[in-house]
Amino acid sequence: MPVEGDTVIRIKDVVKEFGPLRVLDGVGFDVARGQTVAIVGRSGSGKSTLLRCIAGLETIQGGTIEVCGHAVGRPGSEARAQLRRDVGMVFQSYNLFPHLTVERNITLALTLVKKQPKEEARKVAAEVLGLVGLTDKRLSYPEQLSGGQQQRVAIARSLALKPQVMLFDEVTSALDPELTAEVLAVMEDLARRGMTMITVTHEMGFARRVADLVVFMYHGKVWEIGPTAELFADPKTAEFRQFVGSEL
C-alpha cells in the first residue's frame, strides 16, 4: 500500500476555456505521493485537457494547479524548468524523435537539460530500457519498432529524468490489443514501485486493477471521485453507472 503521506498535486477550481468553449469547469482534487490515479470519462469530457494542464502544456483561465510545489498553468511560470524535471509526460502518439536512435531519444534531455556527461547518460538509458524490457533496441530507430515498443521507449525516456510524477495521456489508445498489454504491464510495474501516476485511460480493467483513486469526469467537471473499489462497487451517479456499463 502506498503511504498516504504528503500531497504532491493540488488541483483547485480549475477553469480552462478554448474561446467560448469551457472545457474544464471548476475541477479540483488532490493526489498523494505514491498514488495511482485513473481519470476516466467519455471523449470530450475534458480528461485529456486536464492532464495537459497538469503537465503545463496549457494555460488555465481560473483556479490553481500545484505540482511538487510548482505553480502550473499560468504564463511566465518561473518554475517551468524545475517542473519539467519533476513531471514526466507520455503521449498517445508516443512522440519519439524519428531521426534519433532509441538511446539518443533517452539521453537527449539528460545531456542537454541535466548536463550529464555522455557516458553517464548512456548508463541511465540502459537502466530505464531494462525497466521497460527493451535493452536490445538501444540502437534502433523508432520506425523499426512496433507501436507498443515505441510507447515503452517513450515511457523510458520520461523515466530517465527521474520524475516524481508521471502523466499518461491515453497511451494505449493508438495500439492494437496485443500491444496494449505490454505497455500496461510496464505501467503496472511502475505503480507497484511507488511512482505517483495520473493516467487518462479507456482501459477500465487496468483502472480497476491498478488505480488507487478513480476520477470520473463528465462535461468538464469531476462528476464522481473515490477509492477505486468503492467507486466501482457503488456508483453514485447515473452517468457513471451508465459509463461503467458501456465500457464493460
Binding site: 524523435f97 524519428p98 534519433l100 537539460v113
Partner: protein, 227 residues
C-alpha cells in the same frame, strides 16, 4: 563551314581558368553557407515568429524571388556604392548571392519546418528542452532532411547563377572566359571549355552535397528510408 577549331591558347591560359573556377567555388561556397543560415533563420521567423516578423520575411522572399539576380547584383555593386557604401566586386557578389540564396532557402526550409508536427515540440517541452535546444535538436535536422533534395538543387542552381557576377567584373570563371576570348578571338572554344568546367562543378557540388547528406543524416544512412 570553314572554321577550324583551335585550342592552342589553353597551353598558356589554363592557369587563368583554374583561378577563375577557384574563385567561383569560393564565392559560391561562401554564399551558399551564408545564404543557408540567413534562409534558415528567416524560415524559423516565418513559421514561429509574430505577425510583423512573418510579414517582413514574406516581403523579403517575394521581392527577391520576383526580380532578376542581375538587377540585385547591380543594386548591391553600383547602387550601394553610389550611396557611399563601396564594396569590392567579390564582396558585392557574395552579398548579392547570399541575399538571393537566403530567399530561396527560406521558402524551402519553411516547408521542412512546417512538416515537423507540433506534438514533437510538446514532447521536447515536456522533457525540459529550451526553445533553442528544441529548434536545434528536434526541428532543424529532420526539417532539413525532408527538404534536402530541393535544397541541394537550389545550391547547384546558385553555383551556376554565380556566372552572372561576371557582369560586375568579379574575376570568376565566366569573367575569365570573357577575358580570354577577347584576347584570343576563340570565343566558341573558350565558352565550350567553360561550359564543361561548369558541368564538372555541378557534378562535384552534387557529389559533395550527397556526401554531406550522408554525414548529416545518420538515420537515413543506416536505414535508407525517407523521414
Amino acid at each position: 563551314m570553314s572554321y577550324k577549331f583551335d585550342f592552342a591558347f589553353l597551353a598558356d591560359r589554363w592557369p587563368d581558368f583554374v583561378a577563375g573556377a577557384w574563385l567561383t567555388v569560393q564565392l559560391t561556397v561562401a554564399s551558399i553557407a551564408l545564404g543557408f543560415v540567413v534562409g534558415t533563420v528567416c524560415a524559423l521567423a516565418r513559421v514561429y515568429g509574430g505577425p510583423v516578423l512573418r510579414r517582413l520575411v514574406g516581403i523579403y522572399v517575394e521581392t527577391i524571388r520576383n526580380t532578376p539576380l542581375l538587377i540585385q547584383i547591380f543594386l548591391v555593386y553600383f547602387g550601394l556604392s553610389s550611396l557611399g557604401l563601396k564594396l569590392s566586386a567579390e564582396v558585392s557578389a557574395i552579398v548579392a548571392l547570399t541575399v538571393n540564396m537566403g530567399a530561396y532557402t527560406t521558402e524551402i526550409m519553411r516547408a521542412g519546418i512546417q512538416s515537423i508536427q507540433r506534438t514533437q515540440l510538446e514532447a521536447a517541452d515536456c522533457l525540459g528542452l529550451t526553445k533553442m535546444q528544441t529548434i536545434l535538436h528536434v526541428v532543424l535536422l529532420p526539417a532539413m532532411e525532408r527538404v534536402y533534395p530541393a535544397l541541394s538543387s537550389q545550391f547547384v542552381l546558385l553555383m551556376l547563377a554565380s556566372s552572372i557576377t561576371s557582369q560586375i567584373s568579379a574575376e570568376e570563371l565566366t569573367a575569365t572566359a570573357n577575358l580570354v576570348q577577347s584576347d584570343t578571338y576563340r570565343s566558341f572554344e573558350v565558352y565550350m571549355i567553360v561550359a564543361v568546367v561548369y558541368l564538372a562543378l555541378s557534378a562535384l557540388y552534387r557529389f559533395a552535397l550527397w556526401a554531406i547528406g550522408l554525414v548529416l543524416f545518420e538515420r537515413r544512412r543506416r536505414l535508407g528510408t525517407p523521414l
